[in-house]
């Protein structure tokens, strides 16, 4: 890709990549976005329209970088994913967004990434499956587990939401 094409991709998709990186690893979001577009600029990552959208490709690269970082910081063990069952979180803040953010970030990374890609970036199951390099069935299962966990973790919000109407 030429420099102009990469700049155009940055203008079109950097917000989506940044949002995703920030939700996955907030302290590393800047570095992840920088890495994603530098890889594109150097030709380490190649876009092939037949294999999905540019946005999906960039989110997939960002996802790999975020997981690498979590793994290197020993904050992620794939074996813990299956056993994770969340309890309701104490609602100790006035900001619902902040509370939801803490709950989403408490999800295991493989559940968190599919949830973020589906709910916030509105990717289809097929696009998510390509981005996270997993079958559609596995994506569906992770998404289901993520939603179930969040329903329980965010349960204390009900009273607050009912009060707000």
């Amino acid at each position: 890709m030429t420099r102009a094409e990469v700049e155009a991709a940055f203008d079109a998709h950097s917000d989506a990549v940044y949002r995703f990186a920030w939700r996955m690893a907030p302290e590393a979001a800047d570095d992840i976005v920088q890495d994603v577009f530098l890889r594109l600029l150097r030709g380490d990552v190649r876009f092939n329209a037949a294999r999905g959208s540019m946005r999906g490709l960039l989110l997939g690269v960002a996802r790999n970088l975020a997981l690498q970082r979590l793994r290197s910081e020993s904050r992620w063990n794939p074996l813990d994913e299956e056993q994770f069952v969340a309890d309701p979180m104490p609602f100790d803040t006035l900001d619902i967004g902040d509370f939801v953010g803490r709950a989403v970030r408490a999800l295991p990374p493989l559940q968190r990434e599919v949830f973020v890609l589906a709910e916030y970036e509105e990717l289809s199951l097929e696009e998510i499956s390509r981005a996270v390099d997993a079958g559609v069935g596995a994506v569906k299962a992770r998404l289901h587990r993520a939603r179930e966990n969040l329903r329980r973790m965010l349960a204390p919000l009900r009273t607050s939401m009912n009060r707000a109407g």
Binding site: Q34, L41, G97, V104
Partner: protein, 102 residues
């Protein structure tokens, strides 16, 4: 405690907003814009290895050709041509007999 239902979850999830890309990131990735002539001093050109190898072979062949001694070919100039244009008869004829007449 009763878990949230689908609508409640959807509503709650939408309240978590993410920031947009910080402005400084573009500069970190693409650098500051430079005038075009700066490229003449700092620019790089990516050349595929086969093209580079072909150029090296070509330059070596030219250098080898130039180092060979020149072989004189058939002359095409008119310098060696024999003409009668400048022919002058001898003005002072000296006759010398070298053999006796019989």
């Amino acid at each position: 405690m009763e878990p949230l239902n689908d609508n409640e979850l959807k509503h709650a999830v939408s309240s978590w907003k993410a920031p947009t890309t910080p402005g400084h990131l573009r500069g970190r990735i693409f650098g500051a814009r430079q005038p075009w002539w700066r490229w003449l001093f700092t620019g790089t050109v990516r050349v595929p290895v086969p093209v580079c190898a072909a150029l090296v072979v070509l330059v070596a062949w030219f250098a080898w050709q130039r180092s060979l001694p020149e072989v004189a070919g058939p002359s095409t100039d008119r310098q060696g041509e024999v003409t009668l244009a400048d022919f002058q008869p001898d003005t002072e004829v000296q006759v010398r007999v070298v053999g006796a007449l019989r």
